[in-house]
């Protein structure tokens, strides 16, 4: 057993982000061999591009010479980028290969090239110590590019700390209040749920709502697969968290009483809400999401309808997160308190806290902890 944490420590309002981790920096299609794109990942401004043979590259976005942003330069040669200011050129390893007005190149001239892996339709970057990177630890998002799943997604540039988004996704009782017109229903906060955490840094929150009226979003999906469907459903939400910031939610409904809770989902529809959140700064995040389904794979109409539908739902989350971050900023002396619905989010916070500790970046003990606050 480890010692008990000080209450309030992992409920930090502005949660720091681990650096020794894979973060989705961009959608695969955003990174091209035509021009670099600027993207800040975990506080590191990066220039992302592809080599002529298609390999993604992530270089620090500051020329070695006078720190001009390489992302405003152009791509040169087979794998290089040219500084827009004085024309220094770098290869994909970040090594300077050409300097103006001299025949030699200073061997110390380097910019950091970060480990990059393209997987599951994202370009993943490791902003921390490159020698610790291991592509096997990229979270499982196989539904993104499996032939058994279809769907699409978008990015939300969320002006809030990344952990607020993880909190949001780890507890879906908010759907009743935030998404009343689409997926919300009272049973969300009335039904039981279980929270499990595993040694590999994953957390699972499972909630079943049996014999309920399908909310509009799910009735539409049922009718896409079973035309003319009406009646009650068993609804599930199984939230899978993978450290540091990926949450894949197994969601769906099946005709009530046809055995879905016991494993037979044949009379239902199943989706996966794929979320991976990349901290940009302490108070801004790149929120990459997609909605994948395993039925009617041939229908681009359904793909587009689902993407637009979820886009609308997530706009409601975004509005709430913006308002929450604003209220946090406006109340520097106030702290977070927890409810039982926060069990999943609190496990996430503890896992992140341990990742930070492993990097020698433990969370500060709050100056005013809940136990010290009196009213």
């Amino acid at each position: 057993m480890t010692e008990l944490d000080v209450p309030g420590r992992v409920t930090a309002k502005i949660f720091p982000y681990p650096l020794n981790a894979w973060y989705a920096a961009a959608w695969d299609h955003e990174v091209t061999a035509k021009a670099p794109v600027a993207r800040t990942v975990a506080g590191r401004p990066l220039a992302l591009y592809r080599t002529q043979d298609g390999r993604p590259v992530a270089l620090d976005d500051a020329c070695w010479h006078r720190l001009a942003p390489l992302s405003q330069g152009k791509l040169v040669g087979r794998d290089g980028i040219q500084c827009p200011y004085h024309g220094l050129q770098y290869n994909a390893a970040g090594r300077c290969t050409s300097m103006p007005a001299q025949p030699t190149v200073n061997p110390s001239a380097l910019v950091t090239s970060h480990p990059v892996v393209e997987r599951y339709r994202y370009v993943w970057v490791w902003p921390g110590d490159p020698l610790l990177a291991d592509a096997d630890t990229i979270p499982d998002m196989h539904q993104m590019d499996s032939p058994e799943w279809a769907g699409d997604g978008l990015t939300i540039e969320a002006p809030c700390n990344y952990q607020l988004i993880l909190d949001n996704l780890m507890d879906l009782t908010h759907e009743e209040f935030v998404h009343g017109s689409s997926i919300g229903q009272a049973e969300l906060s009335e039904s039981e749920f279980t929270t499990r955490h595993e040694d590999d840094g994953s957390v699972t929150v499972t909630r079943w709502m049996r014999d309920v009226e399908p909310p509009p979003f799910w009735l539409k999906n049922m009718r896409d697969k079973f035309p003319g469907f009406s009646g009650r459903v068993d609804r599930w939400q199984i939230i899978h968290y993978y450290a540091p910031s990926t949450i894949c939610i197994d969601v769906g409904v099946a005709e009530a009483g046809t055995g879905a809770p016991e494993g037979d989902r044949s009379r239902g529809v199943n989706g996966y809400v794929m979320n991976t959140i990349t901290p940009e700064t302490d108070t801004t995040s790149h929120y990459f999401w997609a909605f994948m389904r395993n039925y009617r794979l041939e229908s681009q109409l359904i793909t587009t309808q689902l993407r637009e539908g979820v886009h609308g739902v997530f706009a409601e989350d975004e509005a709430m997160l913006v308002a929450q971050q604003r209220a946090i900023d406006a109340n520097p002396d106030k702290v977070f308190y927890s409810l039982t619905i926060d069990a999943g989010g609190m496990w996430v916070r503890r896992i992140l806290d341990r990742m930070l500790a492993a990097e020698g970046r433990s969370l500060p003990v709050p100056s005013s902890t809940p136990s010290q606050v009196t009213s």
Partner: protein
């Protein structure tokens, strides 16, 4: 304690890993443990024979071939050289329980992430500087070829281990099996098929020479060829010489422990410079006359520029006495 501080590491394991090549595993004391990244070495204090006076301490550098992630165990691998000045004999004489005075892991040979392909060329015990790089780059998913050359398998430490771990990425070139390394053919192929390759070389001087010449001959980019030099010390020993800067009426002596730049500044010249490592070129001055040989120690001037002798990087370069034996002298102009 910083990485350069010497401390007493305990020898916990010794083993012969090839003919005349011994692996020595060290356990640094708790406060001195640091992760050893690929390419790092330890500076080790050894005792070498000193004529009739017994032994004297000297410092040698040995690559860390592998290590535990927390730095609690570091392995060196040392070839007992017949021409050794005594350093390798000292290490070969160590037994478990002995103490070796050494620094923490020092980095002169870092591996860069992100190159299109990697070509690691090891000769014999030179594998010690490249084995960890091969493992790390492989784990990162990079395209790695490890060309490992030796006279015979029994002189090639870790070959079987590396083949078992890295499979086809390891390409042994064993002279007595008729697969002697053909550096020219290897680099011709590299230039043709993968000019974006970054190469790292470690091995005997003959191998390094062959690689650097072939690398240039095949038009591969000089910045993509990396080797460890353990400090660039020039072609001539540092000696005192006179330097004149007539434009400012300065004449002074550069003693072995200082540079032309320092000596001129001390005499009142106000000169521009920045890196003090012979890299940036800001301190370059035109040469009017030299008695002796200019020992160019910079990497800013190209080989042609150095051979031409018209200019010199005053932050690092020196003058040595020429064969004619005259007192060495450097006469400089202002740019």
């Amino acid at each position: 304690m910083n990485a350069r501080t010497f401390h007493d590491a305990r020898v916990v394991e010794t083993a012969d890993v090839a003919t005349g090549i011994r692996r020595v595993v060290l356990e640094p004391p708790a406060g001195a443990r640091r992760r050893a990244d690929p390419g790092t070495h330890l500076d080790v204090r050894v005792e070498v024979p000193d004529g009739d006076r017994g032994v004297r301490p000297e410092v040698r550098s040995y690559s860390v071939v592998d290590s535990s992630p927390d730095g609690s165990r570091l392995a060196l691998t040392v070839h007992l050289s017949p021409t050794s000045r005594g350093g390798s004999a000292h290490v070969h004489g160590l037994r478990p329980g002995d103490v070796l005075r050494c620094t923490g892991p020092l980095q002169n040979f870092p591996v860069r992430i992100g190159a299109e392909r990697y070509l690691l060329i090891a000769g014999g015990v030179g594998i010690t500087a490249l084995a960890a790089a091969a493992r790390t780059l492989t784990r990162l998913g990079a395209h790695v070829d490890l060309v490992y050359a030796g006279r015979s398998r029994d002189r090639m430490p870790y070959l079987a281990d590396l083949q078992a771990e890295l499979g086809e990425r390891v390409q042994p070139a064993v002279s007595d099996e008729g697969t002697r390394l053909d550096v020219d053919a290897l680099l011709a192929r590299t230039a043709r098929q993968a000019p974006g390759t970054e190469a790292y070389v470690c091995g005997p001087l003959a191998l390094l020479d062959a690689v650097t010449h072939a690398w240039r001959r095949h038009g591969l980019p000089s910045t993509a060829l990396r080797y460890e030099t353990f400090g660039s010390s020039g072609r001539h020993a540092a000696q005192a010489f006179r330097v004149q800067l007539p434009a400012l009426g300065i004449e002074t002596v550069v003693d072995p422990g200082s540079t032309v730049l320092e000596s001129l500044q001390r005499s009142g010249a106000d000169l521009m410079y920045d890196c003090l490592k012979g890299e940036c070129g800001l301190c370059v001055l035109p040469v009017r006359r030299v008695d002796g040989v200019v020992d160019h120690r910079d990497v800013y001037l190209s080989e042609d520029q150095q051979a031409d002798g018209g200019s010199v990087c005053v932050c690092v370069s020196r003058v040595a006495a020429g064969p004619e034996g005259r007192e060495p002298l450097l006469v400089l102009d202002l740019p």
